[in-house]
Amino acid sequence: MTLEAAVRIKRDGFRLDVTLSAAAGETVAVLGPNGAGKTTLLRALAGLEDMEGHVTLDGELLEDTSRGLHVPAERRHAGLVFQDHVLFPHLSVLENVAFGLRARGKPHASATARKWLDEAGLGDRTEALPRALSGGQAQRVALVRALVTEPKLLLLDEPLSSLDVSIRAEVRRELTRQLASFNGVRLLVTHDPLEAMALADRLVVLEHGEVVQSGKPEEVTARPRSRFVADLAGVNLLRGHAHGDHVTVAGDEALAAAGAGEGDVFALIHPRAVALYRTRPDGTPRNVWHGHVDGVDAYGDRVRVRVVGPVPLVAEVTRAAVQELGLSAGTDVWMVVKATEVSAYPA
């Protein structure tokens, strides 16, 4: 069972052009900043948006605009879990869950719904109205409501973002378990890298309506291909042109990089590999730039120092080093990066 989709949507000032495939048994997370078109993509797959392109699920064509084919949302067997759950406020928890069963004419809707709710640990909340539920309970009810109809495709929109931070970790573990027991295609969208890393077997990074990168989470963060991914991985990412052992980046600065190869590349520098000095250091490193500190942010005992210079970089140093060097906004510093610490890969 697989999902194959090519979704193109054009609206005032907004464009989405995504090709996507996902197989049963894997959880695919579409990750991107707000406004990237993630929710629109999800809604298009569910049949709730006008789109161009095609969607195939388990061999069944759900959408093919070249042939004018559109299977309406109610006949797609796609379970959609909205960001803020969208439980029917006038129906009890039991009736919310039984809704899909009744709509599809399944017998024993109440009994089935009750069984699912029991399994989800919500057996004592069946008669409650949604407004009486906690955020975590509402999230679980929304998921059960989608799963009980046994859809072929499960679509989750920011499943954890509406929850209180204190319960997120717990709900995330629960969600991981429930996702693992669902056999269909699992697709979730999120802007939260942590959520994506924790839940997904595969990441699809969406920016400005386009897929900029996809792959296993560790592959994606190891070789970011966009500013968004670089930021979430917490690394410096430069774009440039490689000539053997150096890369020309913006401002015609030459960056020494061991084995950079040839052609357009991304150059990745981990902040820990950026050393800072108050005076120009002597010695062999070839990547030496002068700049001044733009900002200092502490994370635990590590401190990230943003430096503005010919090549803007973030350096990660210890608190002791900040004290010793007397670093604060405006301080003049020298940045040094060894050529072996720059990893370059084709753009």
């Binding site: 809604r43 049949g47 959609l80 029917f88 406020p89 809704f99 709509a103 109809t149």
Partner: protein, 260 residues
Amino acid sequence: MRRARVPAAIGILAALGLLLFLLPLAGLIVRAPWSQTLAELTDPTTTTALGLSIFCSLSATAIALVLGVPLAMILARTRGTLRNILRALTTLPMVLPPVVGGVALLLAFGRRGLVGSLLYQWSGIQIPFTTAAAVMAETFVAMPFLVIAVEAGLRSLDQRYEEAARSLGAGYWRVFTRVTLPLLRPAIFSGAVLCWARALGEFGATITFAGNFPGRTQTVPIAVYLALETKPEAAITLSLILLVVSIAILVGLRDRWLGV
């Protein structure tokens, strides 16, 4: 929670506004010939008019629900010029003097009216002077109140509830009856109450289009108007009865509709 203090000026104006409602009511209650009330209550003119009024206003509200909710749905879906035109047409009876509305109804559904003439030729049925005409007049005048309320309710309704229902496999009618209508219940209820209250008090369009005949088209407002000339005490009593009945129906309906 501690709210900001309300300035005295607001309080005074609000009190004046309230007095404008309260004083006429007090006038009715103080001047009411209480000793005659029971006699008036059992007077056939009163009971007939009251029964007719309740029948007509509830019928008008029922028709307004059946026709007005779909109309509100269309209005809520349309955009731009078409919507403005539809809206203006729908709200026309709200600004039209009811007597003019009655004349307009005559010109449309009267024996020589645009549609009424065809009806009369084919079937010999004449709408004016019938109870049906009273119901039509009340519907004409009162339905906009329902349409406006339901349209506002639809516009503020989160469409994702309907989308969630669809994604769960519900077709159009199931979504409409199990999700849209229940979620619209407060808007429909308040719209229906406004509509019913307007229908109950309707006078101008009814007397113009339906005329006045006890038991057929003489609703309470018309009976009150006629009684006011000959026996004002009866008019006051009748008005008070109307007041009590409307409050009773309002409270009763509220419990039934909004009782959870």
